[in-house]
């Protein structure tokens, strides 16, 4: 790798290599039965250069000698017409400074065999089907070991190993004309990850949803569970992205220091949490991880950045430069601002009391169509995939064919209560439950 860096630096002012080596073992159950065991091994490298002040980029799964020459020449080709670089690669991390490197590796995960994953998957199915044997489960257990190395011509970068254990499970119950689906997703970088609690959570939600309740179209209080908050979070992630803000396409652009949402709302991005799936000691550009306040007490504090976007905006990278490809392998993509573990801070209210305070309303727990509408404006219009009707403070059943719509920033200024406990949703973000005073609900007449 050092050779490749040297070769690249000979014909450019600066260069950076990103190398990844990973092994993923997914074990898949379909309809309560073990279906498939896989092993996916990935090697790849991406080269980024700054030549005559312009950025060039290339990537390859082949890191042999001829491939290295191909990488260098492809990067040089794109640098000729590339974007002017507004950054320098980071130098070596300060020694002896405060260390924020989170724990993201556990040998226990690295040593997990396919057979052990099969056993865990079977346990998940046993728990979910215990009360209702006619439930059909799909389960995927996956363990991943990844080694990332970043090196640049400023002697910056570093390397780390990360392990993850993730579980995705869904329960399908078909009764008469009703198809009822509950799903959950969770994971950890630590081997103590409790796959059974994921199964128990599904079982509990199935129990709550067996009875169907009716909803009529109109405006009413709506409570979003941490899972249900997903569409709002997607809109916030777009609005707080340094790139969206720099383009002026974010409704929050130019509003730093202003009160933008209810003072009970604070939002952070935090890759420094031990064991969390989104954690890492450095981002995809070798910038050290740190916790970034985005909104505090409803006041906009800043946006999240990668190196180039920060350079263009006259800011510093927040350590949010990640390589995430829409197609192909992640290392095929150039770094762009992205969140790690997004967090909405908890409030002061008791969840049970929040539900008890609703005279007539709904709880949104699982949605369809998140991120589908006009994400930029924060408008959402979602199908309530799993939700519950509340009447006089009691959950009376599951709602069907129901949509909830609103605008993210507007509703975050129309909050009735924020629960005092933040929970992980899908292993991706931490959020409390939020009760909104009044939202548009559309239901199909029956």
């Amino acid at each position: 790798m050092q050779d490749l860096l040297n070769t690249a630096t000979q014909s450019a002012e600066a260069a950076e290599i990103y190398c990844v080596n990973s092994e993923t073992i997914p074990v898949l159950f379909e309809v309560n039965k073990l279906k498939n065991i896989e092993t996916r091994r990935t090697n790849g490298a991406a080269l980024r250069i700054i030549k005559s002040g312009k950025i060039g980029f290339s990537s390859s799964t082949d890191t042999g000698e001829t491939a290295a020459r191909e990488l260098v020449s492809m990067a040089a080709d794109s640098a000729v017409i590339g974007e002017p670089a507004k950054f320098d690669f980071p130098g070596p991390a300060a020694r002896g400074g405060p260390t924020s490197a989170p724990r993201v590796y556990d040998d226990k995960i690295a040593k997990l065999s396919a057979g052990e994953l099969v056993r865990m998957g079977q346990e998940i199915i046993d728990i979910i089907t215990e009360d209702v044997p006619s439930i059909k489960c799909g389960v995927q257990l996956e363990r991943k070991v990844e080694e990332v190395t970043i090196a640049n011509s400023n002697n910056g970068g570093g390397s780390y190993s990360k392990t993850t254990l993730t579980a995705i499970a869904d329960a399908l119950l078909v009764e008469a004309n009703d198809i009822f689906v509950v799903y959950a997703m969770g994971g950890s970088c630590h081997g103590d990850f409790d796959h059974r609690s994921l199964a128990q959570e599904i079982r509990e939600r199935v129990r709550l949803g067996r009875k169907i309740a009716t909803v009529s179209t109109g405006r009413m209080p709506v409570l979003f569970t941490p899972r249900g908050i997903m569409p709002l979070l997607i809109a916030l992630q777009s609005a707080l992205n340094g790139k969206t803000a720099l383009d002026g396409a974010s409704p929050l652009a130019g509003r730093i220091g202003q009160q933008v949402v209810d003072p009970r709302i604070s939002i952070y991005d935090d890759p420094t949490l031990d064991d969390a799936l989104g954690s890492c000691p450095m981002d995809g550009e070798g910038v050290q991880s740190r916790r970034t306040p985005l909104v505090e007490a409803g006041i906009l504090r800043g946006f999240y950045y990668d190196l180039q976007t920060a350079g263009r905006a006259g800011e510093s990278s927040t350590g949010n430069g990640f390589r995430r490809a829409i197609a192909g392998d992640h290392f095929e993509s150039q770094p762009a601002p992205d969140t790690t573990n997004a967090q909405i801070a908890p409030g002061d209210d008791n969840l049970e009391e929040m539900i008890a305070s609703m005279d007539e309303g709904i709880i949104v727990d699982q949605v369809m169509g998140a991120g589908q509408g006009n994400v930029l404006t924060g408008d959402f219009s979602i199908n309530v995939h799993l939700g519950f009707k509340v009447e006089k403070g009691e959950i009376v059943g599951r709602v069907k064919d129901t949509m909830v719509a609103g605008n993210t920033l507007e509703v975050l200024n129309n909050i009735a209560a924020v629960s005092s406990r933040a929970e992980w949703a899908y292993g991706q973000y931490l959020a409390p439950a939020i009760l909104f005073k009044s939202l548009g609900v559309a239901a199909k007449g029956r």
Binding site: R40, E83, G369, I382, G440, A442
Partner: protein, 458 residues
């Protein structure tokens, strides 16, 4: 050389069935954003996978080190045995072994165009949008081309060498007035070469105009409406709402769902005809052989409102006692093939657009889609652009139109089908299923009218 390596690895594996895919993809990506270049890169991805069936269980290994192919076969077979011991009951539908070579017919090979020329074309599009109005806040222009060489071989004696080219572009205009931000995008592309993304200047300009005009659109009032879908949105509808239910891996192991998707059952009015097929040439979902080496076909799914067919891999076909349809696809060598759509469409009917809207007192005309999603029987999809229909005429613009419903009820509520079918082949995205996204597909339809659709709104 690859052929010898594969043939050697297929000797003495000890499994019931083994298949090997080796692929080489070269991809160019260009993204412009506002006045800057966001991404400009070339990447090469070479790798392969082995899938093994032993005692009725599957094992799968993917890798980049092709030279160790034999070891990967051994690992895949041992994983397959582990699955086979627990729950092996997989049976492959028989197909004839094939030896073939497929090379695409390209009008303009994207590999013959320099990166600088590609960038110059995209910059033209970008300037048209940025210069259209001061209300255009920003833009994104994204371009991808991928040239793939795929080798397929299995232990039954098939050896297929296929090359494939996919080119796509997407231009998005973002208009802003205060807090109001509206966006529109147009796509172009295809499998027959670079010319498919050229000459889009007028449609790109129109895209900017529509984004600006949408600033003045009022949010739609929630409720139930009669909705007319344009061919692009109707295509997304047929893909999302019905197509996914036709993928047999969704039902083959599940008796309850099989009882819903039962052949010969009435799913729509007699005017409704739906089909899927990769053998339909010239679209993004077109190919000669799928990733199990099965020849592609065109599969009628609904004929005169009645369910007549579904999409299969060799496994689902074997289990259900039906014929493979050539719909087992993987996005690349990192993944095993699963049942996917290819080109999915509603066939032409005989109602003109004017007739379709003429007797609607209050309804919605919904055009193109931001996206769509289904979970079993429920679907949602969001219109990019929409107009009210009042007293049989297209009236004012509305926005935030998201349609949702139950697939089965909604199919029954399609009461008019146009005679102007159009396929959508553009863009840089595709279909997602499980972890596999984006897969190039095409979908299309004529205009269709649906009664009683729930539209979300404030």
């Amino acid at each position: 050389m690859v052929q010898n390596l594969i043939k050697d690895a297929l000797k003495s594996h000890g499994a019931d069935y083994v298949e090997i895919r080796i692929e080489d993809h070269v991809r160019t990506k260009i993204s412009l954003r506002g006045r800057g270049t966001d991404e400009l890169s070339t990447s090469r991805s070479v790798g392969g996978c082995v899938r093994a069936l032993a005692s009725g269980g599957w094992g799968f290994v993917s890798f980049n080190d092709i030279e160790h192919l034999k070891d990967h076969v051994t690992l895949a077979v041992s994983q397959a045995r582990l699955v086979g011991r627990e729950s092996g009951d997989c049976l492959l539908a028989p197909v004839e072994p094939v030896t073939d070579t497929v090379v695409p017919t390209l009008i303009v090979d994207p590999r013959s165009i320099t990166l600088a020329d590609k960038l110059a074309l995209l910059e033209e599009y970008n300037q048209i949008m940025l210069g259209y109005s001061p209300k255009i806040q920003t833009t994104t222009v994204r371009y991808r081309d991928t040239y793939s060489k795929k080798y397929f071989a299995n232990s039954e004696g098939s050896y297929i060498d296929q090359e494939h080219c996919d080119v796509g572009a997407s231009c998005r205009a973002i208009a802003r007035e205060g807090d109001n931000v509206q966006q529109m995008f147009v796509t172009s592309g295809g499998v027959d070469g670079y010319q498919s993304v050229e000459g889009q200047h007028n449609s790109v300009k129109d895209c900017a105009r529509r984004a600006v005009e949408n600033l003045d659109a009022k949010p739609v009032k929630a409720g139930q409406y009669t909705v007319v879908l344009d061919p692009a949105l109707a295509g997304v509808f047929v893909h999302e709402a019905f197509g996914h239910l036709s993928e047999s891996d969704f039902i083959y192991e599940n008796e309850t769902l099989r009882n819903i998707m039962v052949l010969d059952a009435q799913f729509g009015a007699p005017i409704l005809n739906i089909a899927d097929g990769a053998a339909l040439p010239g679209h993004r979902g077109s190919y000669r052989y799928d990733d199990e080496g099965v020849p592609s076909s065109v599969t009628p799914l609904i004929r005169d409102g009645v369910l007549v067919g579904r999409l299969h891999s060799r496994e689902t076909a074997g289990k259900m006692g039906e014929k493979p349809t050539g719909n087992a696809r993987a996005i690349n060598y990192r993944f095993r093939p699963i049942v996917r759509m290819s080109n999915t469409y509603i066939e032409n009917g005989d109602t003109s657009f004017e007739e379709m809207i003429s007797d609607i007192d209050e309804g919605i005309y919904a055009i193109e889609a931001y996206g769509g999603e289904t979970t079993m029987e429920m679907f949602t999809f969001s219109a990019m652009e929409a107009f009210m229909i009042r007293k049989g005429k297209i009236a004012e613009r509305v926005r935030n139109v998201v349609l949702t419903g139950n697939v089965f009820e909604t199919l029954m509520h399609i009461d008019a089908i146009g005679n102007d079918r159009k396929m959508s082949d553009g863009g840089v995205g595709g279909c997602g299923k499980g972890a596999q996204s984006p897969l190039p597909v095409s979908d299309g339809s004529p205009h269709i009218r649906i009664r009683n659709v729930v539209v979300g709104g404030n």
